[in-house]
Symmetry: C2
Subunit: 338 residues, 2 copies
């Protein structure tokens, strides 16, 4: 049984997995698959060394089965297929006003605590969501990013008959587009990368290249000149956040999904003129995981198409080298089974 250890300064090693017996209220899992997230790549660039301990196992987009059940755990049995909602909000205080999922002492498993890029992972039972019978564990590993998308779409208050523009067609952008379409919205994806545009088109989305196409004109034509009900900014680009408020209809909503580390110019005049709502969205709440798992189980989203490759755990150090070197990928899953 192996584990990938982050050693700091962008370096990884593969070693023996430390199998931990579950304590009170914990469950030990056999990890099946773990997806590689943009945050993991950020860690691999050394950009989060102040936050991530080393050596530490990272990874947080996983699926697996229950291997051992600790005392005090109800509702889960050995062999159950599960995913982990990797948030530990036990440090919540009244100042968090009940928003546990973004509470200020939140620990994110795989960043602030050991993660899932290992064969055996022991976690608090309150993080578990059961996967329904018959769900492919490869697709189950997409529950976490899909829960992000479900949360973003909920923050956007997307509903039937609406038009949603998704700026940025990476993994989260496409998942948002898929969830918003499942909620009854018409979707327009704006993405400069040709490969990503091609994949978005495979999903049947209308896709525009911001460098070549008339995005504003297309939105106007699609919405009888009103603009988009909801715009998701997922590109983390200066142009993207300026375009987001421009493309929104009067009293439209802009959801800031991308993580902008520094202040960026926003067209506040658009907010005023059209009385926009610009809302932030971060991670997910339990109901978003439930919604994501239901969507996976429904088989309606063609999620398999997002999986670029499945790599063995032993290749993770090379894999991060490849990704840092420019390897194009939508979603890479790591097979963590011993």
């Amino acid at each position: 049984m192996s584990a990938v250890y982050y050693e700091g300064k962008g370096s990884f090693s593969v070693g023996a997995c430390r199998v931990e017996a579950p304590a009170l209220g914990e469950v030990r899992l056999d990890v099946a698959y773990c997806g590689v997230c943009g945050t993991d790549l950020h860690i691999a660039h050394g950009a989060m060394d102040a936050r991530v301990a080393s050596p530490q196992v990272i990874g947080h987009e996983m699926s697996g089965t229950v291997a051992e059940v600790g005392d005090g755990v109800e509702g889960f049995a050995v062999g159950d297929a599960v995913v982990v909602r990797p948030l530990d909000s036990r440090g919540e205080t009244p100042a968090d006003r009940g928003f546990s999922h973004i509470s200020r002492n939140l620990k994110f498993l795989g960043i602030d605590a050991p993660g899932a890029l290992q064969a055996s992972w022991t976690v608090p039972a309150f993080t578990l969501h059961a996967l329904p019978e018959g769900v492919d564990l490869r697709l189950g590993a997409l529950a976490e990013p899909l829960a992000v998308a479900c949360h973003d779409v909920r923050r956007g208050q997307v509903g039937p008959g609406q038009t949603a523009v998704v700026i940025g067609g990476g993994p989260i952008g496409l998942l948002i587009a898929l969830v918003a379409r499942a909620r009854g919205a018409s979707i327009l994806v704006v993405e400069p990368n040709a490969g990503r545009r091609a994949l978005a088109e495979e999903f049947g989305f209308a896709v525009l290249d911001p460098a070549a196409d008339d995005v504003a004109g297309t939105i106007a034509a699609e919405t009888a000149d009103a603009g988009a009900d909801v715009v998701f900014e997922v590109s983390c680009s200066a142009d993207g956040i300026l375009a987001a408020t421009k493309h929104a209809a009067v009293r439209g909503r802009v959801v800031v999904v991308a993580i902008f580390p520094e202040p960026k110019p926003v067209a506040l005049f658009d907010l005023f003129w059209k009385e926009l709502d610009v809302v932030g969205a971060r991670v997910y709440e339990p109901e978003d995981f439930d919604a994501a798992i239901a969507l996976i189980a429904s088989g309606s989203l063609d999620l398999e198409r997002l999986v670029t490759a499945v790599e063995p755990l032993e290749r993770v150090p090379e894999l991060f080298d490849e990704l840092r070197g420019g390897r194009q990928a939508m979603k890479i899953l790591v097979d963590c089974r011993a």
Copy 2:
């Protein structure tokens, strides 16, 4: 009967008022008082010459009495005390999605059409709101800016027991503070100008100087470390919009009241991290005028304190010279009676 004419390039003249008999659906008013707004001063700086015709009467914060009633007008009689909601949304289209008050072909009376700085003003009857018996017409002239504040507070979803921070203690900032307090919120006003701080203190508000006081620390102490439920950005300053997201609690609201003509850096990380709602607010809807008039009639806001001076109409050209020259004023009313 006199009128003030804007002659373009920041120049004003006083001349005879053109008394217009009311057409079908119109009412002719004897204007009593007209307040001077920041927008009027903006016009006086020549900054809106591309939008404002000349010569044209400007002014839109008024009170008066009905002098003549046109055909087809019901519900108003000669002598009735009224105020005008200076929005003409007859050019509304389906693309405005029902938001008449900010529809794209909106005409603003006093900017896009003749205004109230004259003894006699003829307007569509649909713009009128009746003032209750006994309301001082001087305070009635504050209905328009107070309706702005009522709208801003409604966009901020301010409720009892909340903490609201108002960044910018000018006329609109103080009116927002007054309305938010009337809705049951605790208020903190942040204002760099000592004279404005003193006036805010006269109203009984907690007031901070952003250059000298620990604003974040005070908000933390007042909110048990949670931050403000709502922050109103009324200062139109780069520091103000950065502070607004900083001071908001998790899932707090920031209302962008100030008109930022150009994009300004916004701490989008705060939006993400705390899942903030940043909303724009512009003018008002009819219910905001109703709420403003009810607040004026209640006598509970001590609005008299906001009136810096009442000036005769003939002094308006000099008055704008004085204001451009740095005369400090909260709200100046112009007595338009013949």
